[in-house]
Subunit: 146 residues, 2 copies
DNA sequence: TTTAATGTAATGTCAACTATTACATTAAAA
DNA sequence: TTTTAATGTAATAGTTGACATTACATTAAA
């Protein structure tokens, strides 16, 4: 199972906002064209980012801006916002191990902390990257000779 | 999107092999009863573990054993074996960013190494745990007073 | 030859992802 | 005030993967 493309799309959205925000109004159609997915998908993700307090979206007139400085928006913030986990658990544990079996009775207690450590390792690495890092690298690409 | 329960089931399987292997023959029915899923699901996972060279399965007579010392079988080995990733990629990147857009043209190049680092952080943590760690903790639970 | 396994094909249900159409709502601008 | 160009969201659909289940051919030991 892969992590949904909503995550990379969300990063792409922020990158467009940063790169084009001064020149263009950032609408769902504009974004859909750069990202190449349906505008309704974009609006859904924008809605999630808004609910997470990461962006502001103007109704009626349209347009989107970051709700705080982009060097304070980490990959982890975005990851949480687009709602990729059920109950915050990266691993889907099989639901009903047999309580009458010594292993079935204890497997959860024994595994849980290890799985948490793994999830944390991933989340901590996600916290190390910000939208600003991406925007900066995009700028560098644009300035570099083809 | 969560990581499939095939992973925790596989760990459970190894735990049963280690805990009960000397006393019982470890069949798919035996495992299915401890794990509480259909025996065919177990056989599918056993087949994946076998293909990855982690276990040996006896046809006809039945029974399963680890193919090498369990302190040399890491969570990462199991994770790879149960085939959770497409092309080894944890993140599903949106497929067709617009090549005519400066951001769309560069987003992949800019993001890929960051996503790899995140994936690696998770995988490295997975390599730190072995089946032996789990088996040992199960033993401790069994000895402890209720 | 019997028996108790594994291996696997076929089928089904369900949930999530992504796409798409349609339209009510909004707020600025004309 | 009307027009216009957005957003918000419901409804529907196709596709895929997870997991469940039945059925049965194959295997190898007893």
């Amino acid at each position: 199972m892969q992590i949904s493309s909503r995550f990379t799309i969300a990063i792409h959205i922020f990158s467009c906002m940063e790169t084009f925000g001064k020149e263009y109004k950032i609408t769902s159609d504009f974004l859909a064209s750069s990202i190449n997915v349906n505008p309704v998908i974009i609006r859904k993700i924008l809605s999630q980012l808004k609910n997470a307090g990461l962006i502001e979206v103007a109704r009626g007139t349209g347009g989107t801006t970051a709700a705080r400085p982009i060097d304070q928006i980490t990959f982890y913030d975005v990851y949480l916002a687009v709602d990729l986990l059920e109950e915050g658990e990266l691993f889907h544990f099989h639901d009903n191990p047999n309580p009458n079996c010594p292993v079935g009775r204890n497997i959860h207690a024994v595994l849980d902390d290890k799985l948490e450590h793994i999830q944390e390792a991933m989340e901590n690495e996600m916290k190390r990257y910000t939208i600003a890092d991406v925007a900066k690298d995009i700028q560098r690409c644009l300035k570099a000779p083809e």
